[in-house]
Symmetry: C2
Subunit: 136 residues, 2 copies
């Protein structure tokens, strides 16, 4: 099990959008160029972020993507859930519900990671990178 590339893109995308939050809408093309990804593919990922209410999109000329949620509040977990989907990492195939003791332990472990990532905000990274003048 690995995090998908989509998650990798999405996280960097949000950081980039935080850095350029004052520049108004960012077009798909701009983002795709900057990250060197195909625009059509990137649009799929951004759509996921839109559905998760992290960003919003406006179509038509001068349209594009912009943050929707308050930038200081966007956590790693927000983004990960959007791209990886909700649902536990481990599911016992032998017993239904939470009867499986192994599954309970695994869930506890996942929970640990999850709360950590729910507290960590992407804003922190963006701040630092703005200071350094870095782009991603």
């Amino acid at each position: 099990m690995k995090y998908t590339k989509a998650t990798n893109y999405a996280l960097h995308m949000i950081v980039y959008m935080i850095e350029h939050a004052q520049s108004g809408n960012l077009s798909l093309h701009t983002l795709a160029d900057h990250f060197n990804v195909s625009a059509t593919y990137l649009s799929k990922i951004l759509t996921q972020l839109v559905k998760a209410d992290l960003i919003e999109s406006t179509s038509g000329a001068n349209g594009g993507y912009a943050l929707r949620k308050k930038m200081e509040d966007i956590s790693y977990m927000d983004v990960i859930k959007a791209t990886e989907g909700t649902g536990s990492l481990f599911e016992c195939k032998f017993q239904e519900g939470s009867k499986c003791l192994i599954q309970n332990v695994m869930a506890e472990a996942e929970n640990l990671m999850e709360t950590y990532l729910r507290d960590k905000k992407l804003y922190e990274v963006a701040k630092i990178q703005i200071g350094k003048g870095k782009s991603f």
Copy 2:
């Protein structure tokens, strides 16, 4: 990202082997029957556990699989590493090494889960299930 079925099987397999540790070697066929999995497939998983030095296999008549590592010491993480492979869950595709701040945070989160699972031993589950007379 999800844990694979193989991990699910492997964890239950180890618990079962702890419960039946006194019965000598457990044949592939016995295990496959009990968990209702094809023997050939299960053998692949067990081979991974052998390579991770968690269990040992003896071929020939009366052969089979038995625990190698001290049963009280086998952690969830031992098994997971064996089946899922080592290596981080998240790898930044833009920057090499640990230059990516996002990756560092993700690694920290993973580390949290990992240490938890390294402390948790499968022996605990086996003990409880022996008490209940359960099989998995």
